[in-house]
Amino acid sequence: MKLSKEKIQSLVLAGMVFAGLVYVMVVMMILPWQAKIVVLTKKTEELNKKIKDAEAHGKRITDAEATAKRNEEMVKHFEADMPTTPIITFYPPLIKKEIVYKDIVFSQPSMVNLSPDLAVVGNDFKRIGWVLTGEGLSYHDLGLLMEKVENKNPLWEFLALEITENPNNQMKHFFKITFGTVTRK
């Protein structure tokens, strides 16, 4: 069979149309869609993981509300004992009032600088050092005084004690007490 010139022209044209259609379908539709399927599937998986993690994290935060409430009450409770007025006018009379032992005369509390490892109490609080001296306390008395102060105000702490013998009375020593009060920064 011999093809006429017109037929050959038609065949070439049809071939070009075929190739065009295949090109459009494969290169412009199937391949980009498949690439997008891969990308979107990955994105969706990541997003689902993110959602799952966020929900789990959110649950932990919600569950911690009770602890946060307790912490808030605890902080409020202790902050109520902290001064709003200048510490140098607030603490000395208070210390004089609390540190009382029988007929012992304590010196006026004077503020001292503490080393940073003692002065820093977290990010929100600081410890102030106070020094008192006196005469006439026995070792046993000091223990009792310490216990009394500990029970009276949990934010107060004895940081140092210096006891020196009294040549006139073996039971009534000279002493120097350094103790700290915790307050807002």
Binding site: A14, E157, A160
Partner: protein, 200 residues
């Protein structure tokens, strides 16, 4: 017998040739390929639409979750700040090292023969207490007994519950007026580390 003449013979021949025309097969094949390809394209499109739909749902869900999550993160920040405050106060209140009980227990270190002239106790930020005392041993073989006492300290034989001597913190023994057999003055200094768990 009448002569049979096939008047459409030529036309039949043309049709027969046309029926075997390879062009027809080529065209049919091409159309089939196009149909299959179109079907596959449709399949891929459906799959793509499905993935887009699932992704859109996930994005919408994230948008909903994210809003709430951001609020919770803010809440967590204040929770953490509060926790840090509470922790520092808790340490202050419950982890004191120089306490009345310690003062009582410290008597374990003091022997009846020892007359103390001074004692210094000071806490450090590392839950340790610097202990220093000056004393005079009064009794027979004073120097020897002070040596024994120091060895007991060094060997960790004298203990207080909830506190232990920081390794290497015991200062060398210093003696004074060693020419007196019954009265020897000496100084002791060391650090005690509080074991807060054991102390409970």
């Amino acid at each position: 017998m009448p002569l049979k003449i096939n008047l459409i013979h030529e036309q039949q021949e043309i049709l027969a040739i046309q029926a075997k025309d390879p062009l027809k097969f080529v065209i049919m094949g091409t159309v089939s390929v196009l149909v299959l390809l179109a079907a596959y394209t449709g399949y891929v499109y459906m799959k793509y639409s499905g993935v887009v739909s699932v992704n859109t749902q996930a994005v919408n869900k994230w948008n909903t979750v994210e809003k709430k999550y951001k609020e919770l993160l803010e809440q967590e920040k204040s929770q953490n700040a509060l926790q840090a405050k509470a922790d520092s106060l808790d340490r202050t209140v419950n982890k004191k090292v120089l306490i009345a009980n310690f003062l009582d227990d410290l008597r374990t270190f003091i022997r009846p023969e020892m007359k103390l002239s001074s004692m210094t106790l000071s806490r450090t930020g590392e839950n340790e207490i610097n202990v220093k005392y000056n004393a005079t041993w009064v009794g027979e073989s004073a120097q020897e007994n002070v040596g024994k006492y120091y060895n007991e300290l060094e060997g960790g034989k004298i203990k207080i519950k909830g506190y232990e001597m920081a390794p290497g913190s015991l200062n060398p023994l210093t003696l004074a007026n060693t020419d007196n057999a019954t009265r020897v003055s000496f100084s002791i200094a060391f650090r005690l580390k509080a074991n807060l768990e054991e102390r409970k």
